[in-house]
């Protein structure tokens, strides 16, 4: 049997080669992604203590109270070491202008793990001297020097302090994969920072206690104990594993989505493989019948083909492993632009095993439906005149594709790490597939109605398309999906960019200000008025936390091991956070009520009635809040009860101060608060001038340069989408390999027809034209509908999911349309050249297969 398996494959080298090529192409993207994921996980594991710079961190956005510190200390094992770190945003001023920076104020013990490498070559570890910082100097990230045109030794102002730059930080082991960091970091001594009076009430900061524990300590158990003595969810406990996860969230999301795109490539490759296999095996029904007549059991015949499939799948897996081995260094280069630490990408044993399993099992699952009908072969069919045995299609055969669909769905959920995202992906994917199938089918049927007086080779092309519907529709689907993907990313990007730069009906402000103290608001408004600038969107902000929903305690989620998906992870993150509250009488231009009624009037504190709340819709969905829910808040020690009376949508990219929860007037006016505000659009040089002036007069007020931030966000997005685009290109490539395989197979099948045409008087050039037109039309139909679907999909995603505007990018659809059509023609030309130009006399010598 083994001899049979290999003899047939050896005798069908072309089929074997294309089968392997198809499957290997699909598997390569998948394997590269798996290697990327496992290498990233390994890097996270290896560096997790460095990210946290401790064994355990206790962190809060408010000051951690003395009683809480005492309770934590009470649980610490003998030999534990403590350190403290405060992180906050601040403005830095210098001769080169002003900038928002992220200040990391550290004590002598920092970092317990990892190191900082300075420009001078000095390595800063826990035991190293931090004399430079204690002397009131700073270590800064290199981008701050380049942005403000500074050098080591120059002086910068932070708050009231004049701080010389002691050195530049070349490497920071605590630097994570976070892509959202918009401000360069600057290291100060904790004592110096506290003296600067920059950290005031309500400042946007993190108070962190870092703990180094004896080696034998169980961090998980200790964390659980500490959570019981510090129940407030605003105080978070983080171990190195969580820190790694947390820091690489953006990359993990990216790899989830890359995984999904790689699945499209895998699907297209499977489509090509299935198509090839269907043709291969259906040509063998007669041989199977003959072997059956000679005594071979049909089940034995099936085993021969199952063996062949597994062998081909395994070879494809090996090929894809080799391809992935050579591709990984390129992927590593892309990753280097996204990650601050070097992640050595390598194929693990697990990935290699997965490749072999997917190759052998995947090819079986995809191709088995074509093997199953072997059971229906009847020996009597050998006595019929036809050169081939045709078994026909039964609707029950369709059920055999069910395992492939389930397999694909499971892979999607696994790749996305989310049932929701995986299901949405599979839903959208199969909906697109169904649309393309339907359109392909309808169009091909519509070719019946073409005019009769066309040139013969045009007519032949259209007839071929119409009369070989399986091949035509498969090609439309393969190229259509590829075109959809390749065009979707640029479309989305174009709209998101436009929306980010200028949200619908809204004008972006120039500066967004936060951490404005209550007593600074009037002087700040006057300061701006004197310069003929009106302060916009003045919004109070009060810190609070939700204690209970409808009387049920709103406690922290204790067991992180129960988190199964990215959605649950996000929900827990939101739940464990405090909430910023604000109040205003009217909605801002970036808000819209979508359910309920926005509160009116001032709350009467003398009644029993709760005050009214307006909650942002998605926030409510995440926390499972409903209209009329009663929320109990703790606002700086005071408990107060509110009722949800409306849900709002918010355009967050408006850069207007917006809040998840708005509280009715008359509730928070007397609570300690800070303010947020914005400065309307101005010329860039005016923005720089007013920012420098504000920093000089209000040093604790932090400001985000909106235009610069939008640019930075877009640059980061560009890096992320680039890798998605590469994966989409791989899918299109898979689509082309499918098309090429089909073209090869079709032309081979039609070899005698092509020669017959020449015998009937057709010129070889006209025969070639006929094929070019046929595949050109296929490419055009597929790319047109692929592009149209991508536009529809990006319209839906932009308007519904991202709640933004839709801006059509004309360049990509046109490029896709032309290039897919031309490439289809080129591929058909390459695939058919040999057969079209062979001597027609072979028809007299050969036997029609």
């Amino acid at each position: 049997m083994i001899r049979w398996i290999f003899r047939e494959l050896r005798n069908n080298k072309r089929f074997s080669a294309f089968f392997i090529l198809n499957l290997a192409l699909g598997l390569t993207g998948f394997l590269c992604l798996d290697a990327f994921k496992s290498s990233m996980d390994a890097a996270l594991q290896a560096n997790s203590k460095n990210f946290l710079s401790a064994d355990l961190a206790v962190e809060s956005r408010r000051d951690i109270r003395d009683d809480e510190i005492k309770a934590i200390r009470g649980k610490l094992p003998q030999g534990a070491q403590e350190g403290r770190l405060v992180e906050f945003f601040s403005m830095v001023a210098s001769k080169g202008g002003s900038r928002l920076v992220q200040v990391k104020a550290i004590d002598q013990t920092y970092p317990f793990y990892g190191e900082l490498i300075l420009g001078s070559g000095e390595k800063i570890q826990s035991t190293s001297s931090k004399e430079a910082l204690q002397q009131g100097r700073a270590w800064v990230y290199p981008e701050l020097l380049s942005q403000l045109k500074l050098q080591v030794g120059d002086e910068i102002s932070i708050g009231q302090l004049k701080i010389p730059i002691a050195d530049v930080i070349q490497e920071d082991s605590s630097q994570t994969f976070r892509l959202s960091s918009l401000a360069p970091k600057i290291y100060l001594d904790l004592g110096v920072a506290q003296r600067s009076q920059l950290i005031q009430f309500g400042s946007t900061k993190s108070d962190v206690y870092l703990l180094k524990l004896p080696a034998e300590t169980s961090v998980g158990a200790l964390m659980a104990q500490m959570k019981t003595v510090v129940p407030d969810p605003m105080v978070r406990f983080e171990d190195p594993e969580e820190a790694g996860e947390d820091s690489a969230r953006a990359l993990q999301y990216l790899s989830d989505y890359l995984g999904l795109v790689s699945l499209v490539a895998l699907f297209l490759a499977s489509l090509g493989t299935a198509y090839l296999y269907r043709s291969f095996v259906s040509q063998r029904f007669k041989s199977i019948a003959i072997l059956n007549s000679l005594g071979l059991q049909r089940s034995q015949a099936q085993w021969v083909y199952i063996g062949q499939l597994s062998a081909l799948g395994l070879v494809a897996a090996v090929v894809s492993l080799i391809a992935a081995y050579f591709l990984l260094p390129f992927l590593a280069q892309i990753l280097r632009t996204l990650s601050p630490i070097d992640i050595p990408l390598q194929l693990s044993l697990k990935t290699s095993f997965l490749a072999l399993l997917m190759g052998a099992l995947g090819s079986l699952i995809v191709c088995y439906p074509f093997l199953f009908p072997i059971r229906r072969i009847k020996l009597s069919q050998l006595f019929q005149e036809e050169s081939q045995i045709k078994l026909g299609f039964r609707w029950t055969d369709a059920a055999l594709f069910l395992p492939s669909l389930v397999f694909y769905y499971v892979l999607s959920v696994w790749q996305a790490n989310s049932i929701k995202v995986g299901s949405v992906f599979v839903g959208l994917f199969f909906a697109s597939l169904a649309v393309l199938l339907l359109i392909g089918w309808l169009l091909i049927q519509a070719l019946k109605y073409f005019p009769k007086d066309l040139l013969w080779y045009v007519k032949q092309s259209l007839l071929q398309l119409q009369r070989r519907p399986v091949a035509s529709v498969s090609a439309v689907v393969a190229l259509g999906l590829g075109s959809l993907l390749i065009n979707l990313m640029p479309q989305l990007k174009e709209s998101l960019k436009a929306d980010l730069e200028s949200p619908r009906n809204l004008k972006l402000p120039s500066l967004f200000m936060f951490d404005i103290q209550d007593d600074q608001i009037d002087p700040l408004v006057s300061f701006l008025n004197e310069r003929n600038i009106r302060m916009e969107f003045k919004s109070p902000m009060v810190r609070g936390r939700i204690l209970a929903v409808n009387g049920e305690s709103y406690e922290r989620v204790e067991d992180a091991s129960q988190i199964q998906s990215r959605e649950e992870e996000a929900e827990v993150r939101f739940r464990n956070r405090g909430v910023n509250l604000s109040y205003r009488d009217q909605l801002s231009s970036s808000e819209e009520i979508v359910e309920g009624k926005f509160y009116e009037g001032v709350w009467d504190g003398n009644t029993e009635n709760p005050f009214e709340l307006s909650v942002e819709k998605r926030y409510a969905e995440r926390l499972n809040l409903k209209l009329n829910d009663i929320l109990l808040f703790d606002v700086q020690g005071v408990e107060m009860t509110g009722k949800i009376t409306s849900f709002r949508t918010v355009k967050w990219n408006s850069f207007q101060p917006n809040f998840f929860i708005l509280v009715q007037s008359g509730v928070l006016e007397q609570a300690p608060k800070t303010f947020l505000g914005a400065i309307p659009q101005m010329q860039p040089n005016e923005v720089a001038q007013i920012q420098d002036a504000l920093v000089a007069s209000f040093p604790n007020v932090s400001m985000v340069d909106v235009a610069r931030s939008v640019k930075r966000i877009f640059e980061l997005g560009e890096k992320m989408t680039w890798s998605l685009e590469i994966m989409a290109a791989l899918s299109l490539l898979a689509g082309f390999v499918v098309l090429f395989s089909m073209a090869q197979h079709q032309v081979q099948m039609r070899r005698w027809d092509l020669n017959m045409l020449k015998i009937l008087g057709a010129k070889a050039g006209d025969v070639q034209k006929s094929l070019l037109i046929e595949f050109g039309v296929l490419g055009l139909i597929a790319s047109f509908f692929g592009v149209t679907l991508s536009l529809a999909l990006s319209l839906i995603l932009n308007l519904i999911v991202f709640d933004g505007t839709f801006l059509m990018n004309w360049k990509w659809p046109v490029i896709t349309l032309i290039s897919v059509t031309l490439l289809s023609m080129c591929l058909s030309w390459i695939a058919s050249f040999r057969w079209v130009n062979e001597k027609a006399s072979v028809i007299l010598r050969g036997d029609r297969a």
Binding site: E385, W456, L757, I759, L844, D847, R848
Partner: protein, 219 residues
């Protein structure tokens, strides 16, 4: 004289070995004559047919068809010449499976850019007794019907010469006889010069003349 073969030689290279298939064939065929070429497998029948159809060129010698020396024509001229003057019927039918019977017969007319294509093709199929099978695909026709479609396709352009390669070779005796009745009837009515390659003694006897090809030469 409709066909004249002058000292036709043809050899093929197989590995390093040159095999001489046709060794200086000479023959003349009169207008409207139906000639059977018989011979064993490997005697060079198919090679001869491919030279007569202009699908291949002899190493030496010439082929004259109605006074024009075919061997001097360029590839493009040859294609055109074949389309207008030579009809071919194959043992394997070689119909286009994706085209209906009618579309198969229309095809050579379309390639030649003729008028009233559908009418001519329909008439030809009706003549072959296939008027009720016009919209059927080859897969829906019996072997005998397929061969009749193939004959109709060969005759529809009114070629001056008809070449047939074992036209009943793939059919059972009864069907084969019926098909050949239609075939002979059609060529005789048109007074068409016909070269018929066959193994069948019986079929060869129905022709005006027999030429036996043995070891690359007519005996």
């Amino acid at each position: 004289m409709s066909l004249k073969l002058n000292e036709i030689k043809k050899s093929y290279q197989q590995a390093d070995l040159g095999i001489e298939v046709l060794k200086g064939l000479k023959a003349e065929v009169k207008d409207g004559e139906v000639v059977a070429i018989v011979g064993q497998s490997g005697s060079g029948k198919s090679t001869l047919l491919s030279l007569l159809a202009g699908l291949d060129r002899p190493d030496s010698g010439s082929i004259e068809v109605f006074g024009s020396e075919m061997t001097r024509l360029t590839e493009e001229e040859m294609t055109d010449f074949r389309a207008r003057n030579i009809g071919i019927v194959f043992q394997q039918f070689h119909l286009m499976n994706h085209l209906t019977a009618l579309e198969n017969v229309m095809l050579p007319l379309e390639i030649l850019g003729e008028n009233e294509i559908e009418k001519k093709a329909t008439e030809m199929l009706q003549l072959m007794g296939l008027g009720h099978r016009l919209t059927h695909f080859p897969g829906q026709l019996s072997g005998g019907e397929c061969q009749r479609v193939a004959i109709a396709r060969a005759l529809v352009v009114n070629p001056k010469i008809l070449l047939a390669d074992e036209p009943s070779g793939n059919l059972d005796t009864e069907t084969g006889e019926k098909v050949m009745d239609v075939f002979f009837d059609a060529v005789k009515k048109r007074n068409m010069t016909t070269i018929l390659v066959t193994h069948s003694e019986q079929l060869a006897k129905r022709c005006d003349r027999q030429l036996t090809l043995k070891l690359g030469q007519f005996q």
